[in-house]
Amino acid sequence: MERLFNTILIGVSGGSIYSLMALALVLVWRSTRVVNFAQAGQAILSTYIGYEVITHTDNYWLAFPIALVAGALTGALIDILMVRTLMKRAHSGPVAGIAPVIATLGLLGLIRAIVGMIWGGDLRQFKLPVSNHGFTFGHNTIPFAPINLLIVVTTVVVMLIFSVIFQRTNLGLSLRASAYQPEIARLAGIRVDLTRTIGWAFAGAAGAVAGMLVTPTNYLSPNSLDLLLVSGFVAAVIGGLESLVGAAVGGLILGISLALVLEYISSSLAFPVAFVVLIAVLLVKPSGLIGAKRTRHA
């Protein structure tokens, strides 16, 4: 029982990070109708910037907001420089439908190459902002550590901020209206292009947070976030790809199931399990396990 409880706790901590990545993907999907594979690149770039701040100032808490802003700026820049052109020019023909996806792929490669040129391919490590030794109760030390607590709390805070923005502000209303019905949004006077840029910035920030949270207990290299991208995608799909709440819940479901498999079955099965979950969800309930009413068409 205690083992189960501990495993679930660890799963919640891992799942939180998946949720953040899923959130980043969902935010872009809703505004642009493209799964942004470059998100792994954007997050890694932001995390390296955070790493740089940490090596110079030895201060994780300063690095965190800087990485976040860097992530937001990168996202906005990508939308302005690339996505806008693409949206204007891609109309028809065999490539048009896949052009945006391919562009994000190219971008992932580009960012990764640039990161590699600046920082090289060596594995690097963050100094831990808080301890990774499990909490102790009396004689009992559990695997859940302050670092896990930091991850969960930060994720909850980020999610709360986003839900307030989306549900209670005019900006959130613009973001939602532009996502659902861009044409009606324009007729209501919303600057849909600008709104989409803001969506990309938010997504970039969420990805940066995911990178800054996952790296301390991991290592950093130009492609160290690839698996996180995949997990984030699986989480987003579980959540229906459209919904922010879905992203959060999807991340938790994936995190907990992975933790259970790793603890009780085998540690080499992480990827196959995630993949099987993905395929199973897509086959059984393609609209995601949570909410989403609409059918899945590109």
């Binding site: 613009s174 939602r176 659902y180 009606i184 949004a185 324009r186 007729l187 209501a188 006077g189 919303i190």
Partner: protein
Amino acid sequence: MSGLVISELNISHGAIRAVNDLSFTVKPGELAAVIGSNGAGKTTLLRTLSGLKSAHSGSVEWNGQSILRKKPEDLVRSGIVHVSDGKSVIPELTVKENLALGGIWRKDKKDVALATAEAIELFPRLGERMQQSADTLSGGERQMLAIGRALIARPKLLLLDEPSLGLAPLVIDQIFQAIKALRDRHNLTVVLVEQNAMGALRIADIGIIINLGKLVASGPAHELIDNPSLRAAYLGY
């Protein structure tokens, strides 16, 4: 010249010429009914007036200024508000949020609140359903919501695309009366696109009849109603 002045307007969808050499004028405060059957080019015309679609050639002026090549989000700010066909509401949002969209760009939040209250007064049913998702509204209620949202933008030129589409006769009547009342109260200029020729011409000041993108006839609404040859060929009653 003030009002809406359209001259020699051509609009294409690829090779299809949907609006062909169209010219007409709507004076300030006038309610103009644009009548035509399926595929006449009515929607295409309205989409160009609101900036969603670009024209091929010709000119459109609103109060002396060319509005071609302007973006819809800017035209809304200069008072041109378009209620597109098919009940232009966002079903994923609540009624309240749909209404809020109407004034989202406006700085004068006091007047937005006032306009919202006016819209609810005009369509009391909306007031009862504020927290409901727009998805759950009936066709007539959606149309009310769409028009209500447009009003909150404080339009000067209101473009309505087939507000009667798919509604029961009683509801149509209600919507048409509301449109007329609005025009009278706020001195709006209205372009009302309709297939329901009789209903639209009854409340309109002038009528414009188009067919396959071309102007067939235009003039005071009551004259068009009484014209026997138009009646048989285009008005269908």
